[in-house]
């Protein structure tokens, strides 16, 4: 993590900036077009959700935690449900677990396609952005068909799920997947063979295996560097032991590898969803959930589209959680961005930033960081002064 100080020219990205649809503040020190240092100020989306869970019942917290992040709302709810269910010593019925997997994989497809579009947009390739978002509407349609909402679907309830899948819906999903599979093959072709696009991705933002290990990267970002780390494989939760996932890794560690890993994961998702549909267990959707949850603590980890999502839940025997800790995948990946930024062109910054698929609303539920270790921190006074100068 090296970064230099004393640079004269700083390019701020955020909190309002077209590259990031979310308000975070990055600062890049540049020497001409070359980035010589990077730092980040988070906290613009910090809402205090962890404290919020302490005065809400478990059921209410579900809805709060689902809105930690709009893109991966299902995995947050799944992680919380699985944890609380374990504490309450109940288990959701097999059909519910299978549907959780199904929705989680649909969500992964939606998230990865969204990311593909945003990544292309950052590179200035708007046509790919438009195409991938057009095709993403297919997944949103399916999700809406199953759950009733395009985003924030609230599929999970404590003790099971609330939406069933009937034969028509299953047929619709299969049809949608066939279409998407064809499109995804095309996108894989585009990101690996479009020369202009490769000029912006190949060899850019390389994170080696060792660096990735050292910085504790998770999810597709780590897998693009060859780190075989996927909770769906390592510690199968919900029904992933029944519908196994194959690990997708690449070794290059550059932006191209991150594109490829995510697109290849789409194929895995298609396969898993088909497996779930082929072999959907019969039975109830929910089990009875006690209002009070036994005292104790648990750790619940699930693989969000962006990487390992970590929940620590502590119950004190009432209907309210004593402590809920959420560690989202963007946070460990953030360190990699700030390290990778140094030495690259300013033009690559949005790409590298987006390369980890950052989700700041996830990130900020609780924490904000100042990235590079030895870079100086700004006091509020400095920041304010800077802001005044900047916006004058």
């Amino acid at each position: 993590m090296q970064s230099q100080q004393g640079n004269k020219f700083t390019i701020p990205i955020g909190p309002q900036h077209p590259a990031l649809k979310e308000p975070e503040h990055f600062e890049f020190n540049v020497d001409g077009e070359l980035v010589t240092g990077a730092s980040v100020r988070l906290g613009y989306v910090h809402r205090g959700i962890e404290k919020g869970t302490e005065n809400r019942s478990f059921v209410q917290s579900m809805y709060l935690l689902e809105r930690v992040c709009g893109i991966c709302s299902h995995v947050h709810a799944t992680a919380f449900c699985l944890g609380v269910e374990r504490l309450a010593e109940i288990e959701a019925p097999p059909r519910a677990q299978a549907i959780r997997v199904l929705v989680a994989e649909l969500e992964r497809i939606h998230s990865h396609m969204l990311w593909l579009g945003v990544g292309a947009h950052e590179a200035g390739f708007d046509t790919l952005f438009m195409y991938s978002w057009r095709d993403r509407e297919t997944v949103l349609n399916l999700l809406e068909d199953i759950t009733g909402n395009r985003i924030n679907y609230s599929t999970n309830v404590l003790g099971g799920v609330k939406c069933d899948i009937d034969r028509e819906q299953a047929a619709a999903i299969r049809q949608g997947l066939d279409f998407l599979e064809e499109r995804t093959t095309h996108y894989l072709d585009v990101v690996t063979s479009d020369m202009m696009f490769l000029r912006r991705t190949r060899g850019v933002g390389v994170m080696t295996y060792d660096e990735s290990q050292r910085l504790g990267a998770v999810g597709p970002t780590a897998r693009a560097s060859g780190v075989a780390r996927d909770l769906r494989v390592d510690a199968a939760y919900a029904a992933y032991d029944k519908y196994p996932v194959n690990l997708v890794t690449e070794t290059a560690g550059d932006l191209e590898a991150r594109f490829v890993v995510r697109i290849k994961e789409l194929f895995e998702s298609f396969r898993v969803i088909r497996a779930v549909l082929d072999d959907l267990p019969e039975g109830d959707l929910t089990t009875r959930m006690p209002r009070r949850v036994k005292e104790g603590d648990t750790i619940s980890r699930v693989e969000a589209p962006r990487g390992e999502l970590f929940y620590y839940i502590k119950s004190n025997g009432t209907d309210t959680a004593e402590r809920v800790k959420v560690r989202t995948p963007t946070l460990p990946n953030m360190a990699s961005v700030l390290t990778l930024a140094v030495g690259h062109q300013l033009a690559d910054m949005p790409m590298i930033l987006v390369g980890i698929d950052p989700c700041f609303s996830c990130n900020d539920r609780m924490v904000s960081v100042k990235g590079t270790l030895d870079s100086q921190c700004w006091t509020w006074e400095q920041l304010r002064q800077y802001g005044i100068e900047y916006y004058r």
Partner: protein, 154 residues
């Protein structure tokens, strides 16, 4: 390395500092240690390349208990090792693990801001995750922090 052997290795690595070791759930190992032993324990895990630091959780055990508990979660595949460290409420302090695991700075800063626990030797202690106009000495995740909602309807 299967999860069982991983946990076996971890418990052997941490044995000399463990005041108490439990397995609250399958694939989990909780080891209670003294704050002074924290660095040595973390280093042992690090040197053995045992997993990676998932996060650090702070828990306020309540005013009566008079203690905070910090949980250092290490993940290794399905196996989870947790180092539990307790520190008194009136003068909360733990050593920083940033010298061993640089990325821990993010988690440590969260602890500092949210609980007011001083982390000795952490490279950066500036306020960074709470808003800039947040009052000093107010730690939102402490149990005695009561929030008056300004927008609540009467």
């Amino acid at each position: 390395m299967s999860a069982e052997t991983a946990l076996q290795t971890a418990s052997e690595l941490l044995e000399q500092w463990a005041k108490e070791a439990t397995t609250p759930e399958p694939f989990r190992l909780d080891v209670v240690i003294e704050p002074d032993d924290l660095l040595a324990a973390v280093k042992a895990l690090r040197d053995a390349s045992w997993g990676y630091l998932s996060t650090i959780t702070g828990v306020d055990l309540g005013v009566e208990a008079g203690e905070f508990e910090l949980l250092y979660h290490f993940s290794n595949g399905a196996a989870l090792a947790t180092l539990r460290v307790r520190t008194p409420r009136d003068n909360p302090s733990v050593p920083s693990v940033c010298g061993i695991i640089p990325t821990a700075t993010l988690y440590e800063r969260e602890i500092i801001e949210m609980f007011g626990i001083s982390v000795e030797g952490t490279p950066n202690t500036d306020r960074l995750f709470l808003p800039d106009d947040w009052p000093d000495g107010v730690y939102p995740l402490r149990k005695d922090y009561i929030y008056d909602d300004p927008t609540a309807q009467a």
